[in-house]
Symmetry: C2
Subunit: 254 residues, 2 copies
Amino acid sequence: MPAADTPADAAARAPRPAVFSPLYRQIKDLLLKSLDQGEWKPGELIPSEIELAMRFQVSQGTVRKAVDELAAENLLVRRQGKGTFVATHHEPRAQFRFLRVVPDAGEPAPPQSRFLECRRLRAPADIARQLDLRTGDAVVYLRRLLSFGGDPIVLDEIWLPGALFKGLTAERLAEYKGPLYGLFETEFGTRMIRAEEQLRAVGADRQVAQLLGVEEDSPLLLVERVSYSYGDRAVEVRRGLYVTAHYHYRNTLS
Amino acid sequence: MPAADTPADAAARAPRPAVFSPLYRQIKDLLLKSLDQGEWKPGELIPSEIELAMRFQVSQGTVRKAVDELAAENLLVRRQGKGTFVATHHEPRAQFRFLRVVPDAGEPAPPQSRFLECRRLRAPADIARQLDLRTGDAVVYLRRLLSFGGDPIVLDEIWLPGALFKGLTAERLAEYKGPLYGLFETEFGTRMIRAEEQLRAVGADRQVAQLLGVEEDSPLLLVERVSYSYGDRAVEVRRGLYVTAHYHYRNTLS
DNA sequence: TAGTGGTCTAGACCACATA
DNA sequence: ATGTGGTCTAGACCACTAG
């Protein structure tokens, strides 16, 4: 009886590919596929390196390199002695990974969220384009105010693909504690793993000024975000207006 | 005759340290020290992994892991078949690593730089604090305008420690082509490797508005940056005002 | 052809968490 | 005591560059 056909065997037999893809990257893609398909859900333990090595018929070192890359991209979290877990927006570590507002002085505090609006509407052209939908497709539209210590700081508008967020209602949002992305991942199976932002300075219009408690035409920081899930699928458009008198947006360049 | 005493031997003999530091991290620190001390200058080739392994008396795999981390931090650049090089702000890849302004539409173009001011002065209290100097210590103060396709987009104020930037004059700046950080690294031996930024929206005062060609009180994006060299030494404070009508500051969250 | 980094393996041992 | 990830080693072979 011949030995099992391993990925390494197959790779050796296969014709030289146009672009060389190392084994560990193929393993990484398989792991990504399992994550995308929900074989292991956020917060759950994935199989040990040894088990994965047996499953894919490669050495533990090769699995290790694949997992290393996924951990570096914040998709997995390694815990020595315990195992490797699927990253989640619920754990405190990742809680505010996407929230870059911090006070000019003093310690960052968790924000209070107040939802002003939650309705379904037909996607405007620009939103549809960014979400890879057709103009007029159903989207969920949210509006909310983030406050720190009682002071309103961020006014967010959020658009989500209607097909992915069917049961999302104002009630669900009002009763929910914790980060929005945590809700998305546990209730709608959509995990945000990456986002692109464009920052600008704009003046406050009357309605916005009133909501944020600033004067009309006050300078505000406009943050336009597109968030992506597995496989670079765009799943959220967000447009935030930040009052930056006593708070700022922090960024690290490296 | 006894064999040479290797780091591994020493580690085995040494009393258990309070915090465990793996060999590859010790090697990394040694490499960092060599980089800091200028043993290998930006753009230069460092010794091969095999040579480094012999020099430090560890396996090639251990050196590899140390170099991997330094490459991930953009301090070294690996090139298959050629060797490992010290990263430099001159190579096109890293050229605009710290410049986050891009046009809303169309391809990013290289900026034109015009220096408005270059003088030495005594550090104000806040600048001194950020540069880890004493109030009144000498600093170099620059002011410059960045334009894209003829349109002024960014007005920068820059403060540098006087002790590190002795020969920096308006003439040097005017005749220099290329990124400022390239000049700093080749002419003054100071390489920027990391920066922290704080972003805000502010209104344009009269002088600024005139220089940037916008109306007074127009909203501008204020970017306050502190740049660090090896060993987390702060070596630059920068305060930039960005016109974001047709350009924006891009950022990736992951 | 020689030298470099890149991949893959197998095995030993360490650090950490849990039972 | 056991199982997990973390470190370190040694060696084979591959991909890429350059003389």
